[in-house]
Every structure is written in C-alpha cells, then in structure tokens.
C-alpha cells in the first residue's frame, strides 16, 4: 500500500528507470561470467602438482653427440650433480608437470581394446620418485631390476616391453572406479603392464580444460634421449646456488651439449600460468570498473531524484512521515529497480554464458554465481543510494511551504 506512490513515481520516469534496469542487467550478466572465468582459472592455478615444489630445481641438457651412450652420460652427470653441496637427491626425467613436453598414450584395459582415456607417461631414473617427493598411497615403489631403457631413438619402444607401472589416484579412479587398482593390467603399449602402486597426485606437463589434468602413468624406464631434464632437490634457500653450481658442473663435464632453462620449479609454474595471471587481473579490473560505473550511475541518479523531489519530500514530512520513512522510501525504490535489473541480468548471464561457451570453449556458469552476483549488486545499490537517501531524510518539513 505504502509503495503504490513509489510505483506511480517510477512509472513517471519510465525511460530513466528502464535505462538503469538495463545497465544493472548488463553489469550483472558480465560480472557473473567474469567471476566464473576467474574462478575457473584460479582453480587451475591452484592445482597441486604433486611434487615438492619449493625444493626442486631443474636444468635441461641436450647432448649434440647422438652416437654416445646417453645412459652412461646421464649417470656421470647425475653423480656430479649429487656431489653439489646442499643437494639431497637428484634424478633424470623426461618431463615434468608444467614443462609442456607431453607424451600421452591411450589406456585400454584389454589388448587392442578401446582406450578408456589418455594418460601422460613419465619415465625417470630410480631416484626420481624420491627426488620429486611423490607420495605413494598404495602398493610399492619400482624395484631396481624392473628398470629398462626407454629406447627413445627407436620411437620409445621401451613402452612395449615395460612390465609395471605406478599410476595416480585420479587415473586409478577413472580406470577402475570403486575397485582396488593394484595388480590390474593396462595396455598403454603393445604389452600388458601391471599396476604396482598408486601415488597421491601428479599433474600432466600441460593442463587442458578437461578432468584429465591428473591422469598420469609412471614407468620404470630410463630416459635415454639426448634431451634430458635433471632435477635436484635441496632446501629452498639453497636453490639459486644449486642452479649455478649445476650449470658449472655440467658445462665442465661435457662441452658438446646445450644447457637450457635452468630454473626452480616455482619459476616454471609461474611461467606456465603467466598468461592466466594477466587475464585474471584484466578480468578483475573490468569487473571492478563495471561495478564502480554502475554504482556511480545509481548514486548520481538517486541524488538527482532527491533534489528534484525536495518539495514532495517536504510535504510528506509535513503530513507526518518520519525521517525513517523517507530513508526507507528511497532504499525500497532502489531495491525495486535493482531487483528488476538483476532478474533480467540473471537471464542475460545464462544467455551470455551459452554464447561464450560456443565461441571460447568456456565452462558452464556454476549455478551459485548468478544469485551471488545478484545479491552483491543489490547490496552495491543499497550502498550507492545510502548517501542520497540520508540527504533526503534530512529535508525539513518546512520546505513544503516554500516554492
């Protein structure tokens, strides 16, 4: 009842109110989707890699001499690296999470059967699991006699002869939901490979948009390509020195090689997500800008209306309305406009989401984003209108007699 004059007053400003509702709706739609994109990217950035990130440093070595026995060279390099003060463990691996160098195989459960999913294959020297700090949650580690060469020069055919594997918990759940994966057999190559252990988590070298970020198989294969990554584990504060020493030691052992990307694991992770960080800061800036512009618009219009209605406010006060009533009037009016705006906005948010999913392979908008953005916008509206509404409530009744 007390709101009917408000509706009448709003209907006299159809155009202005309509514009405000539209603006709130678009803001709501864009902010919802921006929040969802930011949320998704943040979730990816916060995925645990599964390795002891703050203790690892890496250096890539590429031998120019292909005829040499690479395994022997790697052993010599590893021995020299292990002697660096502060290094507690070293290993040679073919790839790492975030390194970008991904070797994946389809994983069938029967010979020549259909692949359940594809999984990254990592191989490394026997010390790799300990060096990386992988956490075995079931089964056992590889035994020394299980290791065979990867045979990289011949299309990595070691995969066809390897007998055992350790897989991640994520892959185990995908392949054998609700079952014990230990002792089960998979066929990533031509022959059967028995699962002997499960590690807690390990990410793939590249992350994509799907659920498969943690689908990894570890094989007891010695990397024998000319291109190898040495991983050194040390206490976090020794990392920079260890990297310098490692470069010096490796360069002294053999000059016929290229040393690339000496870096800590944290640096590699930072590099991998650099673009996402830029994108996130841009998106946040845009969303913040939108909210500020909308809030400023609401406050501007509200204060304009308060000025315009000075006389009618005075009259209302004169016939008995309290300051509270005036305050509440402007707050309710704002809520009505914002409510209309966010309702339209939620519809637009889903429409925009469908459009974005078509064009940019984005995720579906999680359901709770829309009500959250709607609530936030209504709150923002209330904050924006508070100043003008308080000013309105101080209009003295005597204004009614002027004119």
């Amino acid at each position: 009842m007390s709101h009917s004059p408000m509706l009448a007053s709003l209907s006299r400003h159809k155009l202005t109110v309509g514009l405000l509702v539209l603006q709130v709706a678009f803001t709501c739609a864009i902010v919802c989707n921006v929040a969802s994109i930011v949320g998704h990217r943040l979730a990816q950035m916060n995925l645990a890699s599964g390795v002891s990130e703050n203790e690892l440093t890496m250096i890539q070595s590429i031998s120019v001499d292909e005829s040499a026995n690479q395994l022997a060279k790697h052993d010599a390099d590893l021995a020299a690296l292990r002697a660096i003060p502060g290094v507690t463990s070293v290993a040679a691996v073919d790839s790492l999470p975030f390194s970008g160098n991904n070797w994946s195989n389809g994983i069938p459960l029967v010979p020549d059967g259909p692949s359940i999913t594809s999984a990254t294959a990592y191989s490394g020297t026997p010390s790799a699991m300990h060096t990386l700090g992988l956490r075995l949650v079931a089964g056992r580690a590889f035994q020394p006699d299980e290791y065979i060469p990867l045979d990289a020069p011949h299309d990595s055919i070691g995969l066809n002869h390897v007998a055992s594997t350790i897989i991640t918990r994520a892959l185990a759940t995908k392949l054998f939901p609700g079952q014990d994966p230990l002792g089960k057999v998979i066929y990533p190559g031509e022959g059967p490979v028995r699962i002997v252990g499960v590690v807690d988590a390990l990410l793939r070298p590249t992350l994509d948009e799907s659920e498969s970020a943690g689908f990894v198989t570890l094989f007891p294969m010695l990397p024998d390509a000319t291109d190898i990554i040495y991983v050194m584990r040390s206490s976090p504060r020794d990392r920079e020195r260890v990297l310098k020493d490692a470069q010096r030691v490796l360069a002294a052992l053999d000059t016929n090689r290229v040393l690339r990307k000496p870096q800590t694991f944290s640096q590699m992770r930072d590099d991998y997500f650099r673009r996402d960080r830029t994108m996130i800061s841009l998106l946040l800036a845009a969303a913040l800008g939108l909210l500020l512009v909308t809030a400023a618009g609401i406050a501007g219009l509200a204060s304009f209306w308060v000025q315009q209605r000075q006389r009618s406010i005075g009259i209302r006060r004169a016939v008995g309305a309290t300051r509270q009533d005036i305050l509440r009037y402007f707050q309710t009016e704002n809520l009505v406009i914002m409510g209309g705006g966010v309702m339209l906005g939620i519809v637009l948010a889903y429409a925009l989401n469908v459009l974005l999913m078509d064009h940019y392979a984005l995720q579906r908008l999680p359901w709770f984003y829309a009500p959250m953005a709607a609530g936030a916008l209504c709150l923002l509206g209330q904050m924006a209108v508070l100043g003008p509404a308080l000013r309105a409530s101080t209009v003295p009744p005597v204004v009614a007699t002027r004119g």
């Binding site: 040393l259 830029t278 845009a286 512009v293 501007g300």
Partner: protein, 433 residues
Amino acid sequence: MLGYYATTAISSLRRSKALAALMVLVIGLGIGASMTMITIFHVLSGDPLPGRSDHLYAPVIDVRPLERERGESAEPNGDFTWPDAMNLLRANRADRQTAMSGGAVPVRPMQGGALPFYETGRYVTSDFFAMFDVPFASGGGWTRDDDGNRARVVVLNTDLARKLFGEASPIGKTVRLKNTDFRVIGVLANWHPQPQFYAQINGRAFGKPDEFFLPLQTAQGLGMDFNGRMSCWDGDGDARTSNHCVWLQYWVQLDSTSKAAAYRQYLADYWRDQQSHGRMRRPAQPQLYPLMSWLEHQHAIPDDLRLQLSLSLGFLGVCMLNVVGLLLATFLRRGGEISVRRALGARRWDIFLQLGVEACVIGFAGGALGLCIAFLGLWSVRQRPDGYAQLAQMDPSMLLGTFALAMVASVAAGLLPAWRACRIPPALQLKTQ
C-alpha cells in the same frame, strides 16, 4: 549559434560539476578500454605480406583414416605428410610452391670453448624466398637443384648472423649446426612477418622470428630435429617419411583466380589418384585457403584476446547506458529552463541542438580522457610477456578512430535524452515551477 550553445553547455556543466565529471570519466573509461583492445586487434589482424597475400594459398587435404576418432575435429589441421608434400612439389602445378617444417638445432659459436646454444628456424624448399618476397641483406636463396642434391647451405636471419659473425660478412663462411657444417649463402634483412603466417599457427604465432633457413631435404637426410606438431595414425617405422604422419606445411602461389580453381581441381585429381592406391579414403574435398582467410580460420589471434575485446565492448556498452541515464537526468532537471526557452519561441530543433552540443562537449572531454587511458592501456599491454606485446602501438588511423568513436558514442548517448527533453511542453513546466 553553435558557438553560443557550446558556451552555455560548458556553463551548465559547471553548475553540476560532479555529475559532469562522472559522465566524462565514464565515457573515458569505456572508450579507453575498448580502444586499447580494438587497437591490439587492428594491429594483430594486419596483413603480414601486403600486396602478395592475395596470391598465396594454403592447400588442405585430409589423409586421416576413414573411421573417425572420438573427439577428432571435423577439418584436418592442414599439415601434410612427407610423401604428399614431395608429390605436390614434384608435380610443380602452382606458380611457386614450398614445403616446410619448423626446426630447432644446436648452433656452435665461432669462438672456441663456449657451449652451443639452441636456435629455432625453418627447413624450407627453394621457392620459399621468392614466394614470400623475403628481403635479403646480402647473398640469396638456393636453387631447386640444391634441394634435390641435399646441399648443405643455410640462410641466416640478421640476429643470428650478427651473433655468430659480428659485423663481418658471413657469406661463404661455415656455420656448424648440430654436427654438420653448412655454408652461409644469404643473410636476411631482419625479416619477421607478424604473425608468422607460414608456420603452424599456435600460441607463438607472434613474436620471435626464424633465425635460419636450410633446405628441407637436407635437414630430413641428416635427421635434424624438427619443431612443432606431428599427428600420426598407425604406428610403424620411420615416422617422418611415412604416409600416415602429418607434420609439414605446404604453401602455393597462384597468380590468378582461374589458376586457383585449376589448382583445386588438380588437388582433387591427386586425392582420387591416391584413393585408387588405397590411401586418403575420405571423400575428395580439397580446400584452398587464401592467406588472410587461413589466418582467420586458424585463430591466429589468441582466444584470450578475443574474449578481452568482447569484454571491453560490453564494458563500453554499460558505460554508454550509464551516460544516457545521467544525461537524461540532467536534461530533464532543466525542464523549467527549457520550458521558458520554448515559451519564448525556441523551436524543438533549437532545444535539440543545444542539448546535442552539450552531449558533444562531454563526448569531447570523454574522448580526450579515453585516449589517455588507451595510451596507458597499450603501455601496460607492452609490459606483458606475450609475443604480440611489442606490436601494441597506436597508429594515426587508430588515433583518429578513438576520437571518432568517442564522438559517435557520446552523440548517440545524447540523442535519446535530447529528444526526450525537447518534447517538454512549454506551458505545463512553467506552471509547476
């Protein structure tokens, strides 16, 4: 009269400073953000080879097996197998043609003792340089005979030549790539087309140029490492020369549309001929993309940037809605003034013009602010580590464009409120005052 309106506009804006400042700020933010992104787009979607791109085509054939894989894309990625690329090269049906792949090799520095370093370049065939109008600082490319003879020759780009030989002329000198000596026969004059249109289009299409070029057959013969994407279907034997692994890029130059049509026909004939040998079992539908459509088709501009552009345009839209609302409010507030003018004989058109000029003044100020914000935005883009970052520069046409956009946007924003305000009836408003 317009001058007078401009003066009254400024004085009336002075009266409501806060609101005017808010409108200028909002237009400035909207214009600044969208102009930053539009400028980046304008720069990145430029023609890498002006004048020649119309005659350059990327042919696409589909050598994938008949049975479709789960999740495979509808169209092939455009890469070629070694046998197909060699067949097309030998057939020599286009005005010029070249096959290529990316390469990464250890380069041994001339000074003794230093460790070798990795450099990325391209393995190409002889027509490459003439086709893409590659500028030479000295020397030149190689001949078709050199291709066939697997000649050990190399063309260096400016940076690598300077890194290896300093200011001395490298022509005729020897450079050791991996384990093989190559004779330098040409040095390019700092050639780096943006994007690197001829390569596989990936996240690195903008940025670092190729530093060396050597004959594809030579590189293949020596087993030098290639760099890039390779997709295979059945596993067996030497993957690089097999007819079920695609990894090469192929380009043709066709100087007229009739030649392009004839070449497409030739590709279809080639496809059917291969089918008669039991290969390429999918329906023969060869594609021939002109260079610019190829870049668009391959999404040379990163998706993140497209998203940022859409976002900035959405932002501009909301800013404009905001300004329309605020202008409407300020105009209607002056209902009394407008009524008086109308009562004194001003036509609706006069009111409309006066208010339109006021909107323009705000637009002008907003445009100026927007330009500053766009410069700031582009500067911040140049600080990004992406390959395209250094290209983010304002050029004169974009400078004019910014201003035009600001004016158009603010006039458009002023139209509706001005129209609404000029319909205020003269007498009624006077009565209520």
